[in-house]
Symmetry: C2
Subunit: 344 residues, 2 copies
């Protein structure tokens, strides 16, 4: 019988996690008070603003344990928060973690999840400074609040895109959606060619370092990560900037693995590329003359594609409209599919 | 049929909450970017440290909807986080809220919970700046991260109590435990005399303003709130300060309502006073010559009792030992009953 939470209790688990975090060499900068008091305390750096974000993942809703290891789960839960900090141009510093767990949860799994948190935070020298663990009333859940910093005035918002701006996107949005689709097929022998897509779902890359580099160019007019899917998040930029967007179908990035997976399944790959997908790529807008500078700010750090998929348009008709120009040169307005967690 | 989350969806609910928060006059100070971008952004004040705390409440584990209204629930969930900020001596500024909800949750109840958040934050001019709402995998849950501030160097920690220090406690710890006990009896006609205890459970007072006043005296050596019960939290001070404690039974504060409720039920009132109880009072340690100054810092703001219940002792034997001197003058070591959420 593996050791469970019921065996060692909440305070026993907290001791284990403390030991794990310290063993990983995650130490707090001097002057930072972490786990073990009513609050964590830190001295903000002069000239920096503080960034705050939180995201919750519920078992069965946002992940299925049979498809993802505890280590991957922890890494992914932390990465999606890091992605939000990066999409403003900032750098993560401190994490607070609330876990709601079933008493029969094996301790080794909780340690695996925490190791994933630590792995995701380590490249930034960021630390876990607080949190709490409680018994969940059903499904397990992981709620992370991540605190970051950015030089004052450097944040890149969603609300500042302007008509005529170019729309850029990093990487291959939609790969994670394809990976999830493949996992849900539950085939006995998955095709090795599909493995990159499954990997994109279980170990999504965030683009936080790239986002910070983009912010430092001071040339981006708006930025967002693709956590609600390419159309959903481009839609957030359009709504909040009171603009529209026109994207060109043939400029949408599509990896060979995604094309092949779609072909084999008789699916339109665009449903993955445009729809909800947990990829955590960046959508960036900028003046057309700055496209090359933005692209090289990203590719200097990481040789990923940065695709110019379209342009911001004046808000005509309904604000926030997104048009797509298809390969036959026709243009049509498309509906967005931001993930609505409650709508049926 | 009341309108539910399934009817209006996640984004519909977010719009409702935005409207509610704005209607309550909760506006963000200039230069603060709140709900609606990847992160909230704020400029920390020069000369201040940042405080971070989070706490999660799970339905069925931390509250039962049949005993508490949505408004009270929201107020209580926020108050316990405010209490943690106050127990360091700080002031709450920004809240991030994650809600895990069942689709059949009435919208009016969600609005009630948010109204409770707003009511608790309003006296501090503090604001809700972010969060997320998701479908829970079973029981509803509320996870709040609260960000506060305190003048640099003014934080009062748990780890700095010294032998010879006086131990003070505000208010009447244990009233909430008695109130919960009474609720769980589910009597058809509750005794009106018990009402103050039920009220102490459903609408616990935090002592954040009092905690800030204590910190400003610079005379407290340690401070904590009683969220794990009087013994549990005094135990945290002892462990982290590597000291012991001796408390005098007859100096423990006990309200008439609590005495009467215990008498009527043939219970020892000390089990409520010393054990786990959701009261959010403060335990404060200080040099004996500063007791009067600390007491008056509290009572100038709020005419509540501040009781000198005992003294910090050197760590003898097992560190963190707590002795109680009973009314017959005998002294015995008592075991702590900090709430362990998993132990059976």
């Amino acid at each position: 019988m593996p050791e469970t939470l019921a065996d060692i209790g909440e305070f026993g688990l907290i001791d284990r996690i403390d030991a794990l975090v310290q063993k990983a060499g995650m130490s707090l900068p001097e002057g930072i008070l972490g786990i073990g008091d009513d609050c964590a305390v830190f001295q903000p750096r002069a000239g920096y603003e503080i960034l705050l974000t939180c995201d919750v993942m519920v078992e069965g809703r946002h992940y299925l344990p049979r498809f993802i290891s505890p280590l991957e789960l922890g890494r992914r839960a932390m990465s999606l928060n890091i992605s939000d900090i990066g999409a403003m141009g900032g750098t993560p510093c401190y994490a607070l973690i609330s876990l709601g767990l079933q008493p029969d949860m094996p301790i080794a799994d909780v340690e695996g999840i925490y190791s994933g948190f630590v792995e995701a935070l380590a490249p930034f020298g960021a630390a876990i400074v607080g949190g709490n663990i409680t018994q969940s009333g059903g499904a397990n859940f992981i709620d992370i609040t991540l605190i970051g910093e950015i030089e004052t005035g450097l944040s890149v918002l969603r609300s500042t895109a302007r008509p005529g701006n170019a729309i850029l996107v990093t990487g291959y949005p939609g790969e994670a959606a394809a990976g999830l689709h493949i996992l849900l097929e539950e085939r006995p022998l998955p095709d090795p060619a599909d493995q990159p897509l499954v990997e994109a779902y279980n170990n999504p890359s965030h683009r936080a370092r790239e986002g910070a580099a983009v912010a430092h160019t001071r040339l981006a007019t708006a930025m967002i990560d693709t956590s609600d899917g390419l159309l959903g998040d481009l839609g957030h930029i359009c709504d909040q900037s009171a603009v529209g967007a026109r994207i060109t179908q043939e400029n949408l990035p599509m990896s060979p693995a995604l094309r092949q997976a779609a072909r084999e399944r008789g699916r339109d790959p665009l449903t993955w590329v445009l729809g909800n997908s947990d990829d955590y790529e960046l959508i960036i807008t900028c003046a057309p003359e700055h496209v090359a500078d933005i692209c090289s700010a990203v590719t200097r750090l990481n040789p990923i594609p940065v695709s110019h998929i379209g342009d911001i348009t004046p808000a005509s008709g309904r604000p926030g409209n997104i048009e797509i120009v298809t390969s036959d040169g026709m243009s049509r307005t498309i509906s967005r599919s931001g993930w609505d967690h409650f709508a049926s």
